[in-house]
């Protein structure tokens, strides 16, 4: 693997607004990278600077070893799939796909077969002579994809490519996009604000916040070891709480909404410290019915407020002191509804001390 894109201290200011604040990033050839973050965090601006549609205030973009920072879009070997697809309404599907080949020195005789080949890659062989207006949303999406990959760009940029599709089609297109990536072997950089989409599709996720990169990593490490509470909260659900650290008898304890919990995580150093943030994933905890006696474990006592049915699992909302703790329970064969607590019941939340993650208070690390 080699580096195809290198971004150094890239910054974009719109007057007083800072769109992207000194981002540095390196992307390997063939990678599927997503830029993930809430609205306004600068994902599109970063992508548009790579595409050449926004001029950076400062910083450098290297494409395959060449400094392309000041090159116009038509002189960069990258192509973009626009959020609104941006299909030319006065051209047929085939003309749209062939558009980019007309300037790239492709012999005329070669354009037609290349267009046909690319259209078949996205499953639209029979639509070459159709007008884009006659296509469904998913089909337009595919035309936009075909038009962008037909030029074999070094990097394919996608700005929220699936956001205009309904939920079912969206899931189907996620798989198709991923397959397409495997098939064509191009480097994909995709913008999304949907964390599950980012986890499903990418080799690597770049989580952004306020124009900065908050954390970069593969989906598993982002989920299992979020670098800060912001990432923990944004990717998947996390029960977050602030607490000082207390050591006694060689064990370390934190307080979760007034109740003591043992924590045993390598990143927590045991030196009693001022308040820090801690959190654990809902599916790492276990819900135990009170039944009059106190069970064994690392426990929080609370009252079951609500049970949310999610199909493959249920999410229990437990009131613990001032806060609410989420516990996810997988609905597999071992699940017995008769033994599950009902709303209003006294319950215990059992959490493994290893599964509680410490975070710096300000979310910086």
């Amino acid at each position: 693997m080699s580096e195809v894109i290198r971004i150094e201290n890239l910054r974009k200011e719109f007057g007083d607004v800072i769109g992207v604040a000194d981002v540095s990033l390196s992307i390997e050839r063939g990678e599927y990278v997503t830029l993930l973050g809430p609205s306004g965090c600068g994902k599109s601006t970063l992508l548009r600077m790579i595409g050449g549609f926004e001029a950076p205030t400062s910083g450098t973009i290297w494409l395959d070893g060449e400094d392309v920072t000041d090159l116009p879009p038509n002189q960069r070997a990258v192509n973009m799939v626009f959020q609104d697809y941006a299909l030319f309404p006065h051209m047929t599907v085939g003309q749209n796909v062939g558009y980019g080949l007309r300037v790239s020195g492709t012999p005329r005789a070669e354009i037609k077969p290349r267009v046909a080949e690319t259209l078949s890659l996205v499953g639209l062989t029979d639509k070459a002579d159709t007008s884009p207006a006659e296509l469904s949303g998913g089909q337009r999406q595919r035309v936009a994809l075909a038009r962008a990959i037909v030029r074999h760009p070094k990097v394919l940029l996608l700005d929220e490519p699936l956001s205009a599709l309904d939920a079912n089609l969206r899931e189907q297109m996620q798989v198709e996009l991923r397959n397409l990536h495997n098939k064509v072997g191009l480097t994909f950089i995709m913008v999304t604000h949907d964390q599950s989409e980012a986890l499903v599709m990418s080799d690597r996720v770049v989580v952004m916040r306020d124009g900065r990169v908050s954390q970069t990593g593969d989906p598993v490490s982002l989920y299992d070891a979020p670098a800060n509470s912001y990432v923990a909260d944004f990717i998947g659900a996390t029960n977050l709480f602030a607490s000082p650290v207390k050591a006694s008898n060689g064990k370390i304890f934190v307080s979760c909404f007034g109740q003591e919990l043992e924590i045993d995580h390598p990143a927590v150093d045991g030196v009693p410290a001022a308040e820090r943030l801690f959190g654990f994933r809902p599916e790492k905890a276990r819900l135990v019915r009170a039944n009059g006696s106190v069970p064994q474990g690392n426990l929080l006592k609370g009252r079951l407020e609500n049970v949310l049915y999610h199909g493959a699992m249920i999410r229990s909302v437990v009131v613990v002191g001032e806060g609410r703790i989420l516990v996810d329970t997988l609905l597999d064969d071992t699940f017995d509804p008769a033994r599950h607590a009902g709303t209003g019941d006294e319950v215990f939340v059992d959490i493994d001390p290893h599964k509680i993650m410490p975070f710096a208070r300000d979310g910086a690390s």
């Binding site: 973009m80 558009y99 300037v103 207006a133």
Partner: protein
């Protein structure tokens, strides 16, 4: 239920008013013209008849054909000149002016003169181009001319200039609207796919703004085609247009039948142009997907 009935009644009322209006003030006058066009000129006035003499005269007498061709030429030149001036202006407004306030002011600068009386606007050019006018004073004061010249006024060029000035808002408005409607992502996509800014303009912006160009061309052409004030104010002897001839037939010449026939020929020409332009629009219209 009652509400629905009332709605239907009121919508019927709303619709019928313009219908009655159109019937009274458009259809009936044209019907009268149509009838007159078959009447016969009998000195000193004219008498009812059914004959095609008036139409025949229009075809045979070369002076009418000449005026008609001149009118088409002048209207065509006005539309062309308007287009050449209006397109870059509208493009500049849509793509180069970033501040919305400035954009509004520059747009209004074109549209606002429409609120000023047409006659006044046409008359302005008489004062600019005349022997006592601004142009002559300037040329004389800078020494380019030794004495005021009369070549600027009372000719076809003066008419084209005046009519362009008067009707150019009708070219700017539809082109501006068409350009404004083109999503920015389309030009970006074209650049992204390797086209230069100029290639992008030729292949994307221009074709997609054609509906505006056609609409503007149709309006400026039809408006100047039927104009009779500019020829009257700045046109001079060789500047007569078809509407002036019609006015003369209904006035001094007292030949209403011939005037009616001419008016109907004009109507047919204008309707043909509007129909053609509508067809063209249908062909060029791309729906933004």
């Amino acid at each position: 239920m009652r509400l629905a009935t009332r709605n239907r009644l009121s919508s019927g009322g709303v619709l019928s008013l313009p219908l009655v209006w159109t019937f009274l003030f458009l259809f009936i006058p044209y019907a009268i013209l149509f009838i007159y066009s078959f009447w016969e000129k009998k000195f000193p006035t004219f008498v009812p008849a059914f004959q095609f003499g008036n139409y025949l005269e229009l075809m045979v007498d070369p002076q009418y054909v000449r005026v008609l061709l001149r009118t088409i030429k002048i209207a065509g030149l006005v539309s062309l000149l308007s287009l050449l001036l209006a397109y870059p202006y509208a493009y500049f407004l849509v793509h180069k002016v970033k501040r919305p306030g400035v954009k509004l002011v520059l747009y209004m600068a074109v549209v606002l003169p429409l609120w000023v009386s047409y006659l006044l606007r046409a008359y302005t050019w008489k004062t600019i181009l005349g022997t006592q006018g601004i142009l002559n004073s300037f040329l004389v004061s800078t020494g380019i001319l030794s004495e005021p010249s009369s070549v600027f006024l009372y000719n076809q060029t003066a008419m084209v200039v005046t009519l362009t000035y008067v009707f150019i808002p009708f070219m700017v408005m539809p082109i501006y609207a068409a350009l404004e409607k083109i999503p920015g992502s389309l030009t970006e996509a074209s650049r992204d796919l390797g086209m230069s800014a100029i290639q992008t303009f030729v292949r994307v912006t221009l074709p997609l703004s054609m509906p505006g160009v056609i609409a503007g061309f149709t309006m400026t052409f039809c408006l100047s085609f039927g104009d009779f004030i500019a020829p009257f104010l700045v046109g001079g002897p060789d500047g007569m247009m078809i509407a002036n001839v019609i006015a003369t037939q209904f006035g001094a010449a007292l030949n209403w039948p011939l005037g009616s026939a001419l008016a109907l020929v004009m109507l047919v020409i204008v309707l043909t142009i509007i129909t053609l332009s509508d067809r063209l629009q249908g062909v060029g219209r791309g729906k933004y997907a």
